[in-house]
């Protein structure tokens, strides 16, 4: 494979990483906004949170992407940058799943914790910020970790609308070399490796979060392998 072809793959990799990371950040914003809205005392906010979660969980991210890229410009005259459209479509989708994670984790914080916060006369917002969320976030991380991997895999969708991500790059390489099995094999391994990196990072985050509650989490697979190598060396 020539240097030029490697370059396609490498640039594709960068786009895939950008889509995943920006998508995750924006998705997290949507997830918290919608998840907390659904728990709000305000009926309108609750309704908006519900509408968003139900709508975007049910919609195909790809179809949303078609709308953002092809329908918005023709019908509404709004042209989004392709990368931004990709990030937005993915974030809207993953945010809807994340919202349910946020809602579930916040509701799982025992009522007795809120009562203790009331007994200390915290304001409702202080109760949420100082007592409920710090505990809920710890419970959210394992689910968010899954969502992040889902998001990574969903980024491959954007190659359909000619965003030059990793999958798009691989298709170019395959077209010019004719080596289908080799190229797509490499692609398979590449996504697997990126996923492994993300899971490991999330695992670290999970451990740190658990430590913030004075708990310890057993070391993950990678940490165990490292430890074993160190021990045998």
């Amino acid at each position: 494979m020539s240097a030029g072809l490697w370059n396609y793959m490498f640039e594709g990799l960068l786009v895939t990483l950008q889509l995943t990371i920006f998508g995750a950040v924006l998705g997290l914003v949507f997830a918290f906004a919608a998840g907390l809205a659904r728990l709000s005392g305000n009926k309108l906010l609750r309704g908006m949170g519900f509408a968003y979660t139900e709508a975007f969980r049910g919609l195909s991210a790809l179809v949303v992407l078609f709308w953002l890229i092809f329908v918005l410009p023709t019908v509404f005259g709004v042209q989004l940058a392709p990368l931004f459209a990709g990030v937005l479509a993915l974030a809207l989708n993953i945010g809807a799943y994340g919202a349910e994670v946020v809602r579930g984790a916040v509701r799982a914080v025992p009522r007795s914790q809120i009562e203790a916060a009331i007994a200390l006369n915290f304001t409702p917002w202080q109760r949420m910020r100082k007592v409920v969320l710090p505990q809920a976030v710890v419970a959210m991380i394992p689910s968010f970790s899954n969502n992040l991997i889902e998001l990574l895999k969903a980024t491959a969708l954007v190659s359909v609308v000619f965003l030059s991500d990793l999958t798009f790059g691989a298709q170019l390489v395959r077209a010019s070399t004719g080596n289908t099995a080799g190229t797509f094999g490499l692609l398979l391994v590449a996504y697997g490796l990126i996923a492994l990196v993300f899971t490991t990072l999330m695992r670290l985050l999970e451990r740190r979060a658990a430590a913030s509650l004075g708990r310890t989490v057993p070391p993950g697979m990678i940490a165990r392998i490292f430890r074993r190598t160190e021990a045998s060396a």
């Binding site: 009331i118 007994a119 200390l120 006369n121 915290f122 100082k130 505990q135």
Partner: protein, 275 residues
């Protein structure tokens, strides 16, 4: 079974506290579904008075404390604390349902220690005690920490400042919870079965701390407990609850040694059998 030694132990009776109506429950009713928990209940507690609420479970004792802490709202009736109603406020000369602002103002005088401690697991011991003084009372961090350390020393946990609650025993957690409550400088301290989740040895540690607090301060205390010896030692008055009503009220010596009501007698016998 009686406890003859208890009468000899420091009786709280020396300092007479009269009922000046500091806390007043006025015709309070509460039902959960069909179950009537409190039935048109009226009583009052004087400032500095220490009152123990006894009675079978489901008789409404804990509901009384939870109402004062604004965790459970009464269906009808009024509760007054000092000059203010807890769930009502004066607006244009009319008594209306109180807003969050008003409730927070009155609630600021009251705090509570819970059966299950309810420490914040995401904060170390020191921060559990300083967080509310800093962010609710507006104390400086230094001032709050200094006071927290004093209180944690007092409850025997001066060496656990950096521990997380999950690293402490139940008895230690409950003592932190007591320090956390006292750090708010409450006028009224509510104790809701604070030793029920602890085995006897750990319960004794906690009760010793509370006895010191009670006898060395003028905090008004309402206490739901099955620890009768403790109740005898610290309370000025004992209220016996049954089916949402107070059926007998007397100083502890009288209540425990010579109860007037048959229901009180059988209840006390059953409790003393347990211990």
């Amino acid at each position: 079974m009686t406890e003859p030694s208890a009468a000899a132990a420091g009786s709280p009776g020396e300092k007479a506290t009269s009922d000046d109506g500091f806390i007043v429950f006025d015709q309070i009713s509460k039902r959960f579904g069909k179950n009537v928990v409190l039935d048109d209940l009226s009583f009052s507690v004087g400032s500095g008075e220490r009152v123990t609420l006894i009675g079978p479970s489901g008789s409404g004792k804990t509901t009384i404390l939870r109402m004062l802490m604004t965790l459970t709202k009464p269906d009808s009736g009024r509760i007054r604390v000092g000059e203010d109603y807890l769930y009502h406020e004066q607006r244009n000369g009319e008594l209306v349902s109180a807003g969050e602002q008003h409730i927070r103002k009155v609630r600021g005088r009251i705090t509570m220690v819970f059966q299950q401690y309810n420490l914040f697991p995401n904060m170390r011991v020191l921060r559990n005690v300083t967080e509310a003084p800093v962010h609710v009372l507006g104390r400086s961090q230094d001032e709050a920490e200094e006071r927290a350390k004093e209180l944690l020393d007092m409850v025997g946990l001066g060496d656990k400042l950096r521990a997380y609650p999950s690293q402490l025993s139940g008895g230690q957690q409950q003592r932190v919870a007591i320090a956390r409550a006292l750090a708010m400088d409450p006028d009224i301290l509510l104790l809701d079965e604070v030793t029920s989740a602890l085995d006897p040895e750990l319960a004794a540690e906690v009760l010793d701390v509370l006895r010191d607090v009670a006898l060395s301060s003028d905090i008004t205390m309402l206490c739901v407990t099955h620890a009768m010896k403790f109740a005898r030692d610290v309370s000025h008055r004992v209220l016996m609850f049954d089916q949402g009503r107070i059926i007998e009220a007397a100083p502890p010596a009288e209540m425990f040694d010579d109860p007037k009501q048959e229901r009180t007698r059988t209840f006390l016998e059953s409790v003393l059998d347990e211990t």
